[in-house]
């Protein structure tokens, strides 16, 4: 596992967004959700993205998450321009590069915690015989070793989000992209989840991008990107 310590000397740029424009057209009016945005995410960074609703925050998150491509501009992932790749190629890259944590957890219902965690491996090249142990390791890491067989309905919100984090980590991703990860949790579980992100950042040197409208959470990140009206307001 390639890990960089938190006090990195020359942190490498993992994801580089250059002159990103995302235009939505409806009828004969067009609207720039992102207007010439430059963002760099460096290895081992803990970055937050905030902005009011309608600011382009979600659009930026989709582009960082490689779920969407810009209308113009370049998306460079580890020195490779991926702005013109096909859907299935992007899917492959998402699988090995990104770990998603959603507000809604998005766990498969009626499916055990372990199987939920293993889901990304289904679409990976990782040797099948290793899958189960990896899943157990990840659930151990988030403190749910005793809940392997539990389905989401049998877990609390905080536990469900920890399963989702284990799922995000299983492919050892370059970037963890968390979209309002505490939005559906009570404050105690929310704090636990944030504590875990800090742990991943500080102890494992993980790169974390936290998208939130909650300034208090955003302030916990080492760097804040604020977006307004499709432009970077501060970073």
């Amino acid at each position: 596992m390639k890990k960089s310590s938190s006090n990195n000397k020359s942190p490498r740029v993992v994801l580089n967004l250059k002159n990103i424009v995302k235009t939505y057209v409806s009828g004969n009016t067009s609207f720039n959700a992102l207007d010439d945005v430059d963002v760099q995410i460096k290895e081992g960074e803990f970055v937050s993205i905030t902005g009011p609703s309608g600011s382009g925050k979600s659009t930026l998150m989709h582009i960082i998450g490689l779920l969407d491509l810009p209308t113009s501009g370049q998306v460079i992932l580890e020195d490779r321009d991926i702005s013109r790749l096909k859907e299935h190629e992007l899917a492959q890259i998402r699988n090995v590069t990104l770990g998603f944590v959603f507000q809604q957890f998005n766990l498969l219902p009626k499916t055990s915690a372990l199987e939920n965690v293993l889901l990304p491996l289904l679409y990976s090249d990782i040797d099948k015989t290793l899958h189960k142990q990896k899943g157990i390791d990840m659930l151990t890491k988030v403190g749910l070793l005793d809940k392997l067989k539990n389905t989401p309905a049998q877990l609390s919100g905080g536990q469900q989000q920890r399963v989702a984090i284990a799922r995000a980590l299983i492919n050892n991703p370059k970037i963890i992209l968390a979209d309002e990860p505490t939005g559906n949790l009570d404050s105690r579980s929310g704090k636990e989840v944030m504590k875990f992100f800090h742990y991943l950042h500080e102890k494992e040197g993980r790169t974390i991008v936290l998208v939130t409208h909650d300034m208090e959470l955003a302030n916990q990140a080492k760097r804040k990107i604020v977006i307004r009206d499709g432009k970077i307001y501060s970073q």
Partner: protein, 407 residues
């Protein structure tokens, strides 16, 4: 291209998502179940009918050659629809003696038929078919009574034209009810005949009146009833079935001396059998085709539910795509689910169809062939794939962003 996820993973997850909703799975498959079981049932009835018919023809005798007026078969071996126009032709006793002289080792049986009013005790039956023939007809096992039910007429009675009759089992009941008809009198057109036997029950015969409704008498009796010397058809029994093909040609040659070509037909039971099989096949295919329509309706049912499933599982699809499922993986996943649904329907349908045909077998011959099972299962799997394509494509084209936003 390497398949990710592996087929076994896909099958595993498809099976589980289907089994999570057993009730719906069963209802979804119902159309296919009904379609497949009716296809199995109908083909098994068709097959059963065919083997029943060939069994019947076995008993008729593979060494029997029939001579009939008219051109019974058209060129393709089917029954000729215009045969009636020649039915006015009839043979006579000279033909019988010609054939007897030429083929001494064979048994030549003339058959003559008339229809008349029959009275017995105080009952009267109208339009009963009276068959006039010789003792040989009974000797060959046609309509022969069980010993306890009397006897067939003898060669002597046949030659003299004795006033004796053998009743078909239905006629016997209709005329005499519970009274034992043996030794009693029946009156046909003023002639009094003595009942000497009751033919064994035969069941219905194909292409004609049930033989149980006939009365059998010596040939001369029919001739005196009808007032002519006509012989309507001739049966020739060869010593073994090996002579049949050659003998048919020879018989035709003899008859051509006196009759025009194509005004009569010399045929054997295999020809008759293949013609009837032809008809049964056409019927079976037509009925099965109708049943197959229900398979298509079943397929549409599956498509419907799969479309609903795709909507319901939009978030799941979005998630799978976000974490690395490429469109084709989603497509294959949903195709497999649709195919499993119809496959389950197919298997249940085959079981029900087979059970149904076993039940029917108690009343009517049925025969489930491996072919029809394989065909029905194959068709149901194909229906699943074909009708699964639209929902699966819809799923594979969902954008992960839209899907994850879906509430």
């Amino acid at each position: 291209m390497k398949i990710k996820p592996s087929l076994s993973d896909l099958l595993n997850s498809s099976f589980r998502s289907i089994l999570k909703n057993k009730g719906r799975t069963l209802l979804t498959s119902l159309g296919i179940i009904i379609g497949v079981s009716s296809v199995i049932l109908l083909t098994s009835i068709g097959n059963g009918l065919k083997s029943y018919v060939s069994d019947q023809f076995e008993t008729l005798g593979a060494n029997t050659i029939f001579v009939s007026p008219g051109m019974i078969f058209s060129e393709g071996g089917r029954f000729n629809q215009g045969a009636e126009q020649f039915l006015s032709l009839s043979f006579d006793k000279k033909d019988i003696s010609n054939l007897s002289r030429n083929f001494r080792s064979d048994t030549i049986i003339p058959l003559s038929q008339t229809s008349a009013e029959v009275k017995a005790l105080n009952k009267t039956l109208r339009s009963i078919s009276i068959i006039g023939t010789t003792d040989d007809y009974g000797q060959e096992g046609n309509a022969t009574p069980d010993p306890k039910n009397g006897r067939w007429f003898s060669a002597e009675e046949s030659a003299k034209g004795s006033k004796v009759a053998i009743l078909g089992s239905n006629v016997a009941t209709d005329l005499f009810g519970n009274v034992n008809p043996l030794g009693r009198k029946i009156i046909i057109k003023g002639k009094t005949l003595k009942v000497i036997g009751i033919a064994n029950q035969q069941g219905s015969s194909f292409g004609g009146q049930p033989v149980d409704d006939y009365i059998y008498v010596p040939l001369d009796i029919v001739h005196s009833l009808s007032g002519n010397e006509d012989i309507n058809s001739i049966q020739i029994k060869t010593p073994s079935k090996d002579e049949v093909p050659q003998r048919k040609l020879e018989i035709e040659e003899v008859l051509l001396d006196r009759y025009e070509k194509d005004t009569f037909t010399v045929f054997d039971s295999s020809q008759l059998l293949s013609s009837i099989n032809n008809i049964i096949s056409v019927l079976t295919v037509a009925l099965t085709g109708i049943a197959a329509i229900s398979l298509i309706v079943g397929g549409i049912g599956i498509m419907n539910i799969m479309l609903v499933t795709v909507s319901e599982r939009t978030r799941e699809i979005g998630l799978r795509k976000a974490i690395g499922a490429y469109p084709r993986a989603i497509l294959v996943q949903f195709l497999i689910e649709a195919t499993i649904l119809s496959g389950i329907g197919g298997i249940i349908g085959i079981l029900l169809g087979t059970l149904g045909s076993l039940a029917i077998n108690n009343f009517f011959p049925t025969n489930v062939t491996l072919q029809s099972v394989i065909l029905a299962f194959g068709v149901s799997a194909i229906v699943g794939i074909v009708f699964g394509v639209a929902p699966a494509r819809k799923a594979s084209k969902l954008s992960p962003i839209e899907a994850l936003r879906y509430e």
